[in-house]
Symmetry: C2
C-alpha cells in the first residue's frame, strides 16, 4: 500500500508517499481502508522525532482517520461499513489496522473528512473534562488557548453541557472566535492576568501551558477544583505551592491520550460515541475544516500547521 | 458549661477548663452532650495559633467527639441517643452544637471513648483514599508514615478492601507495627529510597510529607496513579515535573477535611457509616487508644502528643 513515510527525520520536507507493507490485523483488530486522516500537532512532533509511537503501534503518523471496513477479521462489522477511528498511529496510509474498541460509527450527517478530524479532539476533550475532571452542568470551566483546535471544541462541549466558560487567547480576533462559540468570559492574556480575573472560580481548568501557568491556575481554581494539563507549551518544570493547592482542596492531573491502554481507549471511544456524537448531530458542536489536501501533500500540510496558518483542522484525503 | 479554653496562645500550658456559654443549636444542628473528645494534631496546631477554625465554627478545640443527644432541635433523634460526631471545632466541652449531617451512630460494640477517637481518622482516610483517589481491590497503595494514627487506620482499611499495601516508616519497630496490621511491603525511609522500591507501582499514594516527597512520589506512582497529600511535614513548596507526571497520566490532590462545606461533610459521614463502620464492627480495623484523660488534663495531653510519646490516640473524658 501507499503511506507517508519520513526518509530524513532532520528534513520535514522529506515526508513523502512511498510503498510499504499493508498491515495485517492482529487478534482484536480490524483492517480499515482509509478515506481521510486528520492532522494533529502530535504528528508534527513525531515527524520532528519528539513523540515516538508507543510500543506495538504503527510507526506511520496519523492519530485519527475515517474510512470503511476492509477486513472485519471476525468482528461484528461488514466489509464497506463506514467507520471513524482513534489511532495510536498509522492513519497516513491507504490501510490501517485498528483495535476494535477504537472503531466508531461516524456521527450522523458527517463526511469522512469531517469525522477524521474530530475523533482525536473529541476523545481528548471528553476524556479529560468529563471522565477525569468530572465536569458537569453549572460549573465554571477555564479553557486556555480557547481559539485552538482543542479549545474551540472544549468551549462548545462545555456550553452544551450547561457550564459557564472562561477562555484565554492572545488576540481580540481569537477571543471573538471564542465568543461566537459561546464563551462567557474572554481574557486576552497579553493584556490581563487571567488568574486575577478568574480567581477562585474555576471548577475545571483545561491547561496547555504547563509550568508557566501552574501557580496561576491554582489561583484561578475554585474550592475542590480540578486542573488537567494536556500540553506543556510553557515549560515542563514549575514550582508547586502545595499549601495553596491544599487550601483549595485542589487536584492536578497531567494526561495524554496516545499511550493509554486498549481498555482505556475503548472506554473513552464508547463514551464519546454515546455522549459527544449526539452533540455533533444536534449541531451543539460545530467543527471547522481549514483544508482537505491530497495525502501526497502531507509535507505541505505539516508546514502550514507549523507556520500557524491554520484555523480549524487539516485533513489528508486518501484517494481510492 | 465547662470547656477547655486557651488564655494565652503563647503558653500551651494555659489550656484550662473554664466556664463558657453553652452553645445553642442553629437550624440544621443538634445539641450533643459530650462524653469523650478525641485529640488530633489539628488541635495542637490550633492551640499554637496555626489552624484557626473555619468561619462560623466554634473557636473551642476538638474535631471529633462522642456523646448523647441533648436537644434534637426538631431532627430525627431522641434525647439520650448515643452519637459520634465529626466537628469543625468545639469538642473539648460539655456540650457542642453539631450539623446534623455530621452526627453518626457509634459503630456497634464501641465505647464513646473509642468512637470519639475514630471519627476524624475514619473520615480522613475514607474520603481521601476511596472517595477522592478511587482506591479499589487489587490496587497497590503506598502509605507514608504507616505507623501513625492515619497510617495505621489506612493500612487496615486498604487491606480490608483487598489492596496490596506498601508503607514507609522511620524505624524497624514502627515497620513491625505496620506488618502486624497487614502491610505487605515495609520501607525504612532512613535506609532505603522508597521511590526506587515502589517505582511505577503505586496506584494510590497517601502522603503526609508534601514538598520533600513530591518528585519521589511521582517516581513511585503507577500509570494513572493518584497521590493525595494530606500533610506537609516536608515542606510546602516543591518542584513539580509536569512532564514526568504526564508520562504517568498522574493526578495529585491536596486536601483537608475541616474546611469542607456541610454538604460534603455529610456525604463523607454517610459513606463512612455505610462502609467503614462495618469494617470496625467485623474487626477488620482495630483502633488503639493510648490513654483516656480527664478533660481538665488537656494541657498535659497536648504535651504528650507534642513530645511524640503517644502510640494510638489520646481521648479526653468529660464527666457528667
Amino acid at each position: 500500500m501507499k503511506a507517508i513515510t519520513l526518509s530524513d527525520p532532520s528534513d520535514k520536507t522529506s515526508l513523502a508517499l512511498t510503498e510499504v507493507e499493508t498491515p495485517t490485523p492482529a487478534a482484536g483488530e480490524v483492517l480499515v481502508k482509509v478515506q481521510a486522516a486528520g492532522i494533529n500537532r502530535g504528528d508534527l512532533l513525531q515527524a520532528a522525532g519528539h513523540y515516538p509511537p508507543p510500543p506495538g503501534a504503527s510507526d506511520i503518523m496519523g492519530l485519527e482517520c475515517a474510512g470503511v471496513i476492509e477486513d472485519p477479521n471476525g468482528h461484528d462489522f461488514a466489509q464497506g461499513d463506514p467507520v471513524a477511528c482513534l489511532l495510536a498511529g498509522g492513519g497516513y496510509a491507504e490501510y490501517v489496522a485498528v483495535p476494535v474498541g477504537q472503531v466508531m460509527p461516524l456521527p450522523k450527517g458527517y463526511s469522512p473528512e469531517e469525522a477524521a478530524s474530530i475523533v482525536e479532539v473529541a476523545c481528548t476533550v471528553y476524556s479529560n473534562l468529563v471522565m477525569l475532571a468530572g465536569m458537569r452542568a453549572g460549573q465554571k470551566v477555564l479553557i486556555h488557548g480557547g481559539a485552538g483546535g482543542i479549545g474551540t471544541f472544549a468551549i462548545q462541549m462545555a456550553k452544551a453541557m450547561g457550564c459557564e466558560v472562561m477562555v484565554t487567547a492572545g488576540s481580540e480576533d481569537k477571543l471573538q472566535v471564542c465568543r461566537r462559540l459561546g464563551a462567557d468570559v474572554l481574557i486576552n492574556y497579553r493584556e490581563e492576568d487571567f488568574a486575577e480575573v478568574v480567581k477562585n472560580q474555576a471548577d475545571v481548568i483545561l491547561d496547555i501551558m504547563g509550568a508557566k501557568y501552574l501557580d496561576r491556575n491554582i489561583t484561578a481554581m475554585a474550592p475542590d477544583g480540578h486542573m488537567v494539563i494536556i500540553g506543556m507549551q510553557g515549560g515542563v518544570k514549575g514550582e508547586l505551592n502545595i499549601g495553596k493547592l491544599l487550601s483549595k482542596r485542589g487536584t492536578i492531573s497531567a494526561t495524554a491520550l496516545r499511550a493509554r491502554d486498549l481498555e482505556d481507549k475503548a472506554r473513552i471511544c464508547a463514551a464519546v460515541v454515546e455522549n459527544v456524537w449526539p452533540m455533533l448531530e444536534r449541531g451543539e458542536i460545530s467543527h471547522q475544516i481549514h483544508e482537505v489536501l491530497p495525502i501526497a501533500d502531507a509535507a505541505r500540510a505539516h508546514q502550514m500547521l507549523a507556520d500557524g496558518l491554520v484555523t480549524g483542522t487539516l485533513v489528508l484525503r486518501v484517494d481510492a
